[in-house]
Symmetry: C2
Subunit: 96 residues, 2 copies
Amino acid sequence: MITIVAKQTVKADKIADFLSTAKQLVEETKRSDAGCISYDLYQDSENPGVFAFIEEWEDSAVLDKHIASKHFTELFPQLGQFLDVQTEIVRYQKVN
Amino acid sequence: MITIVAKQTVKADKIADFLSTAKQLVEETKRSDAGCISYDLYQDSENPGVFAFIEEWEDSAVLDKHIASKHFTELFPQLGQFLDVQTEIVRYQKVN
């Protein structure tokens, strides 16, 4: 299993725009992507401009398919215009 | 529900020591802490010195109890000696 934490820091006046596109990406991914165990959007409770997609994938093959999907290649780049800081993506494996 | 991502960057020669104590913390938490939905340790697939505890808690009351528990107050500070960078803790709430 692969766990992704993709942290995004959004411009203060672009949070609503970011949320609209990010939620669409979550919906499309949950609807379409086989091998997706979970894919959710989270907001920092103390810093409302900080978000993270936390994602669980069965393996790297299904994650590669997600990254190549129409919804990801269309929607994920659109999020860039709303960000203050470049997305920080970490690919984790469970160790315990 | 509260989701915590606590990212820790460990000194290259201290990874085994870090893992030993961190796994003990995971075990004790899973065994003892009511209201803990999940609590797991993850390693960055590309940077073996980067770890994260990813945790899900029912609410802030049970999280506060965890932070006040004997195992947390004993074991979590011990991890500090193995770190290269101060722990980055983000408290998230799901938005989708």
